[in-house]
């Protein structure tokens, strides 16, 4: 019994946080109006999205400033699915003179196929970009630049191929997984589906990061050059984690578009990519909890504050990011976990220093050079 107790005390603080957040989210729909449920469902999608970035940035040290591209691919694929149900050519295509659904959209008519592709396509896309960006000699920061350029170009691209994507206007009336003419899922049911998937994704990330793969990724972050000398193929691990991250980001997009019933170019560009970086930075990177907490917290704050400060909201975001970097570089959760850790190791050190071994240290008077 005392053993259980002591191992509980050693459990990092954030695991308690996880449980508390889960309980909160599970009971949330019972106490609020339906539109709040819809809103929170959206935030949980963002939390999944944030987890995908945390794997890549928090654990592996690869900062993507274009992560919304992968999210957007997922969202657009499911979105298109609901524009072309029952073989109807959507108005925005007809306007451009398209009379038949283009062949490459045909498989998307089935929402399930679209959802699966919404996970696979971003993963493959990430793998492709990763293959080019993660050759051993390329500086890590260049990945950041490439992904930023990608976000700019991808948004331009979606706007440019208007006849297939409805350009600026984005896609509307995306149903909450109405399959074969059945009615869409209720908002609350869909909320719990999102929450359930979020829990699975979280557990997967937890498993992955505590697994050897995660440990190697952490070593990439800590000291990539050293890892190379130990005989590891860091590049392959980076491509792998980016691919997994892409799949999860895509999944978040697939869940997100039906939750809000729309997806537009606002959800895929540089601004959206910056937001996910902010969530992870505020919550704390490299411990999963921070990503989820940051996504929920910042979005909740945004929903309250941006009504009053809509014109300066981006400015506030910039200042917030700057403040986090200088004052709580590990984010909110990271800071709390560090405090707890320091507390525990201080205790350990006190125990150790009672032993005579440490006392023997004599500092050299003049270190010979």
């Amino acid at each position: 019994m005392s053993k259980v107790k002591s191992s509980l005390a050693k459990l990092p603080l954030n695991r308690y946080f996880d449980v508390m957040m889960l309980i909160f989210l599970a009971v949330f729909p019972m106490f609020v109006k339906e539109f709040r449920v819809e809103m929170m469902g959206r935030y949980i999608c963002y939390a999944i999205f944030a987890l995908s970035l945390d794997l890549l940035w928090g654990y592996t040290g690869l900062l993507s400033l274009g992560h919304a591209v992968l999210f957007g691919i997922g969202g657009y694929l499911i979105g298109i699915s609901y524009q072309i149900q029952n073989g109807v050519v959507p108005a925005f295509m007809q306007r451009e003179g398209i009379t038949e659904i283009p062949w490459f959209y045909l498989p998307l008519q089935n929402p399930i196929v679209a959802a699966v592709l919404g996970v696979l396509v971003p993963a493959l896309f990430a793998a492709l970009i990763g293959y080019f960006a993660f050759s051993s000699k390329i500086k890590g920061v260049f990945f950041t630049i490439i992904t930023l350029a990608l976000a700019q170009i991808f948004k331009d691209f979606i706007i440019n191929v208007q006849k297939y994507t409805n350009g600026f206007n984005g896609l509307q009336s995306i149903k909450r997984f109405a399959i074969n003419g059945s009615a869409p899922l209720s908002k609350t049911t869909y909320y719990y589906i999102i929450l359930g998937i979020a829990v699975l994704v979280f557990l997967f990330c937890l498993w992955l990061t505590n697994n050897r793969v995660g440990k190697v990724c952490t070593s990439v972050r800590e000291n990539e050059a050293r890892l190379g000398f130990l005989g590891y193929d860091a590049g392959a691990f980076k491509i792998l984690i980016y691919t997994i991250s892409g799949a999860i980001a895509g999944l978040a997009g697939v869940l997100y578009a039906p939750a809000t019933s729309t997806i537009t170019t606002e959800d895929i560009g540089v601004t959206a990519s910056t937001m996910v970086v902010i969530w992870v930075a505020v919550g704390g990177r490299g411990n999963l909890t921070g990503a989820v907490f940051g996504a929920l917290l910042v979005n909740w704050a945004q929903s309250i504050l941006s009504e009053h400060f809509s014109s300066v909201w981006q400015l506030i975001i910039g200042v917030l990011l700057l403040a986090v970097i200088y004052f709580i570089p590990n984010g909110i959760i990271g800071q709390l976990v560090n405090l707890q850790r320091r507390f525990i190791t201080d205790k350990q050190k006190n125990k150790l220093s009672e032993e005579p071994v440490q006392a023997a240290a004599v500092v050299k008077a003049t270190p010979h050079n």
Binding site: S219, L227, L230, D233, A236, F237, T345, V363, K364
Partner: protein, 260 residues
């Protein structure tokens, strides 16, 4: 001459005519070196003598302009660092602690053990009794058994150096290169490090770069002196210590440095 005979045994590492130049500046020029199986071979020389560059060349970090490096007769010149580390089992501890800071001591050693260098291995890897035993063995060898769960960043400077050495041992290298293993350590720590190295020499061959003469005397079987990228002298410590050329160069440079 008599010393050459004392140093019997076959070469683990043979270097011939090694030269490297950076934009015309010859950091290493025409160096020959023989490292015998099982010895502690210490390389000394004043700052800028090319000691670290020489190690960079052996481990593949830098490509040689000319010359050959043979590991037990096999040519390893210009091979990739990863290949030299994993295929030829040459392990290197860098100058200054170069560990994975925000990971535990245990994890550091486990990563270095290299049971999961590829993605497939990483997914299939299970920590077996065998690995556990090896990790614990290494932790004991480097005096960090008690600190296994601490983050590397929380260790004292000397302990971090030992962790580095532990990471090198974990790779089961046949040839270990230690770049200033005792830099910045207290006297006690330095002495302990020396004993640690001697213990290692029972199973491995070591090349050690070092400044501290007392430390060199403690560990060295054989010493090579580098100066301005060239080999100045070689032999057992007692002999090198009294070599006139060495004294001249070494003491002169030493005094220059102190004059700064």
């Amino acid at each position: 001459m008599s010393m050459e005979e004392l140093r019997s045994g076959s070469d683990i590492l043979t270097i011939r005519g090694l030269t490297v130049s950076f934009s015309g500046f010859r950091a290493i020029s025409d160096v020959d070196l023989d490292v015998k199986e099982g010895e502690i071979h210490v390389i000394i020389g004043p700052n800028g003598a090319g000691k670290s560059t020489l190690m960079d060349l052996i481990t593949g970090k830098t490509k040689a302009t000319e010359g050959d490096i043979l590991f037990r007769g096999q040519d390893i010149t210009g091979k990739a660092p990863g290949v030299i580390a994993s295929k030829y089992h040459i392990g290197r501890k860098f100058q200054g602690p170069n560990v994975f800071d925000n990971m535990t001591v245990y994890e550091n050693i486990e990563i270095a053990l290299g049971g999961f260098t590829s993605i497939r291995k990483a997914f299939c890897y299970r920590r077996k009794a065998e690995q556990k035993q090896k990790i614990e063995e290494v932790l004991k060898q480097i005096n960090l058994y008690e600190q296994a769960d601490m983050m590397a960043s929380e260790l004292a400077h000397g302990q971090r150096q030992w962790l580095e050495i532990g990471m090198v041992i974990a790779q089961s290298p046949e040839l270990i290169i230690l770049d200033e293993p005792a830099a910045g350590m207290t006297d006690t720590e330095t002495f302990k490090t020396g004993e640690m190295i001697k213990e290692l020499a029972k199973e491995h061959t070591l090349i050690v770069i070092e400044h501290d003469m007392e430390f060199v005397e403690q560990i060295a079987d054989y010493v090579t002196v580098l100066h301005q990228g060239r080999k100045l002298a070689e032999g057992p410590f007692s002999e090198v210590k009294n070599n006139r050329k060495v004294i001249q160069v070494y003491l002169k440079d030493d005094m220059d440095e102190e004059g700064d």
